[in-house]
Symmetry: C2
Subunit: 449 residues, 2 copies
């Protein structure tokens, strides 16, 4: 019998393949796919030794077959659906991206007992549940290390190494484009639009940068991280998302003045209520962090993720978050894992969503805030502003007042407060007669609450 177990609904592992090669279909041959083909060729002997049997690439699905001179022409096909359905495919590796028709191809593969390795964060953030259900029914593996933080081994540690612990918080920089832009704004003092243009010119931003700068990419990754960390299905719609387009030079300067810098963070938290009920909060937004924080020094294409667990304490993972070769490394690590499982007849971890925790709305999320106001320079302003904070039960941690000619700037950092309370506070303050302008409102992370 071959590696394709069809129609089984036992959830048992696929049968061992014996001594024949593991046959792989590759969907997509762009930057990452090309590197996968290169590494499969260059490291063929090593991969065979590690797996216990050779890997054979049996087909590569691309959009236009005449544009891929760097891979063997006889492997190319424009019919991905037919490639996926072939009887002689054990594993489907997908680096096409997008939701449809990719979702349908991967479901077809999984239902037929073919293991899937994918780097498709958008698809996983929306449809991981369907994919896992299909994998579980046929006993196939579903691996996706490359979907979050590129080459950094992060999902396997969350899914496996920390499986005996309770993860409480994940906080990281998981998008390189926004990290490049915010770092550049911090260095040059330039505005957002201008810096985005520069990033596009240097190849750090796409022609349509929406997915990156509006936080969709980071939100998809946050959904995946939260699902694995908290054993709960979390999808894109559960993630509170704010991009970086509203970050101003004034915000950047305000952060700098307080020894902080601004980063776009993906944050996944397990929150325990007084009655012991746990829930999860997942959000992506720019935030000020202290310059002394390890995440503050993470620049350019690098990603870094902090993980806090009850027994393990604080862990950090750092490495390249994107790029052809780094992403291909993560894909091939997964390919070796699913191939080994085929060889010995086992399988990797299934979906773990038993905890099924509720997702808290952003209004209930608690963080510290930095608020910068442009106010009239007269006595009693601070007292009036402080009264509004007190009224909304938002506690003030620090205040700095700086006079200019006729106006003054007032900077307030709060203790941890609920988002909803803070929004109401700011709304009311904006309407006070001596407040000229709310210059900046930004969350503060990476400090004691």
């Amino acid at each position: 019998m071959t590696g394709s177990v069809t129609g089984s609904t036992t959830g048992a592992a696929a049968e061992p393949i014996g001594g024949r090669p593991i046959r792989v279909a590759l969907l997509g041959c762009g930057t990452v796919g090309t590197q996968i083909v290169r590494l499969l060729t260059e490291q063929a002997d090593e991969l065979a030794a590690r797996i216990g049997t050779p890997v054979e690439l049996v087909g590569i699905a691309v959009r236009r077959a005449d544009r891929h001179r760097e891979v063997p022409a006889e492997l190319l096909t424009t019919d991905a659906a037919a490639l996926v359905a072939r009887d002689d495919v054990d594993v489907v590796v997908e680096v096409v991206g997008g939701i449809e028709p990719t979702r349908e191809w991967l479901l077809t593969a999984l239902r037929a007992g073919k293991s899937v390795v994918t780097a498709n964060k958008a698809l996983l953030a929306e449809h991981a549940g369907d994919l896992f259900t299909a994998a579980d029914a046929s006993g196939a593996d579903l691996y996706f290390e490359a979907a979050v933080a590129g080459a950094i081994p992060l999902l396997r540690p969350l899914r496996e190494s920390l499986a005996g612990d309770r993860i409480t918080r994940v906080m990281g920089i998981v998008n390189g484009t926004t990290n490049f832009i915010l770092s550049a704004m911090d260095e040059t003092g330039a505005g957002y639009a201008e810096t985005l243009d520069e990033a596009a010119r240097l190849g750090y931003a796409e022609a349509d940068p929406t997915a990156d700068v509006d936080g969709y990419d980071a939100a998809a990754k946050a959904a995946i991280l939260a699902s694995l960390s908290f054993h709960t299905r979390v999808t894109m719609g559960d993630v509170h998302r704010e991009g970086i387009s509203a970050v101003t030079p004034a915000d950047v300067a305000a952060a700098r003045g307080l020894g902080r810098t601004i980063k776009l963070l993906a944050i996944c938290e397990r929150v325990e209520a007084a009655d012991g009920t746990a829930s999860v909060a997942v959000r992506v937004h720019p935030a000020m962090i202290p310059r002394s924080h390890p995440l503050a020094g993470v620049g350019g294409a690098f990603n870094a993720v902090f993980v806090e667990a009850e027994a393990a304490g604080q862990l950090m993972f750092y490495g390249q978050g994107a790029g052809g070769a780094p992403t291909a490394s993560a894909v091939l690590g997964d390919l070796v894992a699913v191939a080994r499982n085929r060889v010995v007849g086992g399988r990797g971890p299934r979906e773990s969503a038993y905890a099924d925790l509720a997702v808290r709305p952003i209004a209930q999320a608690s963080t510290r805030y930095h608020i910068s106001l442009d106010v009239a320079d007269r006595a009693g302003v601070l007292a009036a502003v402080a009264a509004v904070f007190a009224e909304h039960e938002v506690s003030i941690s620090a205040v700095r007042q700086e006079g200019r000619t006729s106006d003054a700037s007032l900077v307030i950092v709060t203790h941890s407060a609920e988002d909803a309370a803070l929004r109401s506070t700011v709304d009311k303050i904006a309407g006070l007669p001596f407040v000229n302008r709310v210059v900046s409102v930004m969350r503060v992370e990476g400090e004691d609450q």
Copy 2:
């Protein structure tokens, strides 16, 4: 049939256990063992959900049964051999340490098809080959994430996530005691002996600190890291080992003067000769690193490990390297993995030693060196010293000369040079008439060569 597959020599995975609990024997109940028992109890429901069946602790082997009031008395036994041999044990978790009789217990377990989770770095650094052979013969799993860098998920990434890549270098701080001592010497300027006493008083050093300060602990971890990274059996005897007892306040001051700090590093390198032949070099020694290097800021009980791979690039892993709860977290992650394998009838990765690379002697290792000399303050000294370097083909990168009353200090930093050439150079320089004393010779890491 139960989960214990006896006598099989096929290397196939153990059979699924069906719906009954996974039965665990714990060897050792000190700091780590106590935390394992606590977490197994407190997180019983979560572990069962993640594994697919409950975990049942069926026995705890200790040296003296009357000293463990914190665990259920009916589980305690002083006969570890009998506990390991029990028919109703699926998994043996070992946190006793030491080579014998632990080795015999674990071999017995593995030969009987019982999976083993161990934190025993000394045993693995000497006898991993025997243990893997026994595991392979019966189809049992052997996991040991807790043996290196405590809670940090490091071995699973090396063994699995990077299995599709080629690791070229691993460099890390993997011993907390020496890291505490070196950090304190750097901060206070105090001597080694005095700082060691202080470390012992604060509980950071054992009564007999030999294993830590002489580098045995780090060397064992280096052997394990090198074995996994380079698919080659590397044992303690292959690791060049220098401890920290010879580090002087003068070394520390010299490092500081050059913007560096001293750390005990474990370094595993894959070296490729001109003819393409690869070999590995594994060493543990104190080295100067730039204060700007991420490892320079790693303090106290924390460990951090850099990994470089051809496709993935540079990765860093950071977290708590020791302590009861962090180590227990790593052990339980492994326990969940081997238990899951039992539930689905699969197994984890076996030993991968196919590459079987040669180990290079330290004399052939190339690093940069920092040499500090106490010399007579007269003309021509630098020229004469430089001539000795040239004669041994050791290239000088930087020189600093500082005059005092009648003597002067001469600090030389070399380009990358072979250890043997450097030793000969220093021997000859020490014999020059105007060289009063060789104050410090230390390797420099973490900079371009």
